[in-house]
């Protein structure tokens, strides 16, 4: 392995891969076998964080940034005048193993520009994973990109070596996709996703009968959508997301605030700020759907197509549904506790444990770490001091915001100024 050559390739191909926001290494359960190298820790580990505050868990690179497609939002698009490079299979294997041995990473996230054809590209990705597993006895985490249009046979093989497979739908609507990525169509993304979903179901059911059935993509599938590139509203984004969660059993959908990389007039211009606050609200909504028992229709619907920027989506829902409150923390069930603004799932579980011993009052809740600034208007506990005024939603919102110091305050005032 020639140091200088690999160094140059690494710089180009890591830089090109960075717009894929997923760096998760969780959800797998691969043990170290035969005294080999590595295992996939169930919870995942972030080995460092970049200066933008994102987790670095995997060696995230492209195999090559040569690409036959010309998607407007992508830095690797054919028409972009940039330096191109390509790794050899062995170079990726060596880098992964040596980074892993030094405890820099949890494994490899390998993606690629599409060169020659979908199958040709997918085959190279699979051969890297295969080599790591079979020749190096590597049991760390491998995330491979499913190349849109790749054959079923290759996707089946990919899942045997990878922990996670993902295909990025990138643009939330089909019209948007037609406009920005005329070479691609939705069906090509769906095909490998569908195949992997079915294989996962099949391998899981076989595993119940025959213990020695090999693992197939144990950390499941994920996808990513770009936010703010093609004019979709929050409802369109989250309904698409919900559709993919429901129909393809996805483990994660990632939302990536669009980072302007081109002067193409179809897209936000270079210098436009990345919509980080909006991205944050979308993730909060995603969490409400996956962990807090909310339905998407409760948060986003015809009358409410946008998420509030100044308050979180759970508080927004609560303010629109004041008739559901106040909730008695000493009696309510888990579902309703999880709906109180200011209570995270950890607090919910602590409350459920602690209230078996005695009735909880404000001091108990405070000691448990409940954010009372928000929660106080929505709950009652073992105390006769609670909100007695008949407050309107507007008033409550004002009182909460008065006492909130958001990390987004500066961003918020900028964004509001744009409209105000």
């Amino acid at each position: 392995m020639s140091f200088e050559r690999v160094q140059e390739k690494l710089n180009i191909l890591a830089d090109a891969a960075k717009y894929d926001v997923s760096c998760s290494s969780s959800g797998s359960n691969r043990a170290n076998t035969n005294k080999g190298l590595g295992n996939a820790s169930n919870s995942g580990i972030c080995h460092t964080y970049t200066e933008d505050g994102r987790c670095v868990s995997l060696l995230k690179i492209l195999l090559t940034n040569h690409c036959i497609f010309d998607c407007a939002y992508c830095v690797t698009r054919k028409s972009n005048d940039i330096k191109r490079a390509a790794f050899q299979v062995q170079e990726v294997v060596d880098l992964t193993i040596n980074f892993y041995r030094r405890n820099y990473i949890e494994g490899l996230f390998l993606s690629s520009g599409i060169f020659k054809s979908a199958d040709y590209t997918m085959e190279r990705l699979v051969s890297v994973a295969k080599k790591l597993r079979l020749e190096e006895n590597f049991n760390g985490y491998i995330h491979l990109k499913s190349i849109p249009g790749a054959s079923d046979e290759l996707m089946r093989e990919a899942g045997l070596y990878a922990d996670r497979l993902s295909v990025n739908i990138e643009i939330p609507t089909e019209q948007g996709l037609k406009l920005l990525a005329p070479d691609k169509n939705r069906a090509d993304f769906i095909k490998p996703m569908e195949k992997v979903k079915n294989e996962i179901i099949q391998y899981k059911s076989e595993k119940k009968l025959i213990k020695s059935t090999p693992k197939y993509a144990p950390a499941g599938q994920s996808t990513q959508m770009i936010v703010g590139a093609s004019g979709e509203n929050d409802m369109q984004i989250m309904y698409t997301s919900n559709y993919f969660y429901k129909n393809f059993n996805l483990k994660r959908v990632y939302y990536s605030g669009y980072v302007p990389i081109s002067y193409d007039t179809r897209l936000p211009q270079i210098g436009t700020p990345v919509p980080m606050l909006r991205e944050n609200r979308l993730y909060q909504t995603d969490w409400l759907l996956r962990f807090y028992g909310f339905n998407i229709e409760e948060i986003l619907n015809k009358d409410n197509q946008h998420l509030d920027l100044d308050i979180d989506p759970k508080l927004g829902w609560a303010l629109r549904n004041l008739h559901e409150f106040p909730v008695d923390v000493n009696k309510a069930d888990k579902r309703m506790l999880a709906r109180i603004p200011g209570l995270g799932m950890k607090s919910v579980f602590k409350i459920l444990s602690a209230r078996r011993y005695r009735k909880l009052n404000w001091d108990h809740l405070k000691a448990l770490g409940v954010s009372l600034n928000r929660a106080q208007y929505f709950l009652i506990c073992a105390s006769n001091q609670f909100e007695t005024r008949d407050l309107t939603a507007e008033k409550i919102k004002g009182l909460i915001l008065q006492n909130t110091k958001s990390k987004y305050t500066s961003m918020l005032s900028n964004q509001l100024n744009l409209f105000g």
Binding site: F3, V6, Q7, L10, N11, A14, D15, A17, K18, Y19, A31, N32, K35, G36, L37, G38, N39, S41, S43, I45, C46, H47, T48, Y49, T50, E51, D52, G53, R54, C55, V56, L59, K60, L95, N98, F99, R101, R102, N103, Y104, N137, G257, V259, P260, V274, M276, K350, S353, A354, R356, Y357, R358, L360, H364, A367, L368, K407
Partner: protein, 254 residues
């Protein structure tokens, strides 16, 4: 009258002190390590000699009262080395043993809640060390890392590294507590090292480390820079995730 029990700093020693405390039916007791002990103005003190059998009896007693998770919290909290943690644990044990039902998750009890908070802190430090250990390959073919964790987490990360790096020799050394764990391809042993006066743990001297070590550090540093998105820069978040006190042994932060 207050009694101070002095123990050797080990977990077994602490449990022996708890045993002694119960045996003497002491209500107000302070348990401290020999290192931290200062002769109090009033009250008596007694040195406890670690006794594995007594320690086991206390642990087995707790095991009958608590779930596995709650039991684990007592050990995690102990490893926090917080100056008053022994008293917190003792008071919590008095509460646990005095109750007919399992009160291990009664967060309305200040001692139980404190233990749960310390467990969270220690657990986070354990996780950080699993992340922030940076091995450097020595000339002798050992992957070496030095750390200075806030809490005594080497006993907690031992299995993680043993399971993961089964085919390489490695050594993780806690410079603050002056001991390390060494895996020789067979088992993990506790060791202590004497460092040369000119040994600088934040540098990679080629007297000690393999030549290729610097190349891989360079590649890792390059990767760290390339994977960053400058237009999303957020140093506050960065420092929240990677607090500055950890930077000196992270090659990407040099």
């Amino acid at each position: 009258m207050e009694t101070t029990l002095i123990y050797d700093g080990t977990f077994d020693g602490f449990l022996t002190a708890v045993f002694t405390g119960f045996e003497m039916k002491l209500k107000t007791v302070t348990i401290v390590t020999a290192q931290r002990f200062q002769q109090p103005l009033f009250g008596s003190s007694e040195t406890v000699y670690t006794d594995a059998e007594k320690a086991n009896r206390v642990w087995r007693g707790l095991k009958q009262k608590l779930s596995a998770n709650e039991l684990r919290r007592f050990y995690y909290a102990f490893l926090s080395e917080k100056p008053t943690v022994e008293d917190t644990l003792f008071q919590a044990m008095v509460y646990v043993f005095a109750s007919k039902i399992n009160v291990g998750s009664d967060y309305t009890n200040v001692h139980i809640l404190e233990i749960s908070k310390l467990t969270k802190n220690v657990g986070r430090e354990k996780h950080r060390m699993e992340a922030f250990v940076r091995f450097k390959l020595t000339k002798d073919g050992v992957y070496f890392a030095n750390i200075e964790p806030d809490f005594n987490v080497l006993p907690l990360i031992r299995n993680h590294f043993k399971n993961r790096y089964a085919d390489q020799k490695w050594l993780i050394y806690d410079l603050k507590r002056k001991y390390g764990i060494y895996y020789d391809l067979e088992q993990v042993d506790i060791i202590t090292l004497e460092f040369d006066a000119d040994f600088d743990p934040s540098k990679t001297s080629t007297d000690i480390f393999a030549e290729i070590e610097l190349e891989f550090q360079q590649l890792w540093n390059d990767y760290f820079k390339s994977t960053n998105i400058a237009s999303r820069k957020n140093m506050k978040l960065h420092i929240q995730h990677v607090p500055k006190r950890y930077w000196k042994y992270l090659s990407e932060k040099q």
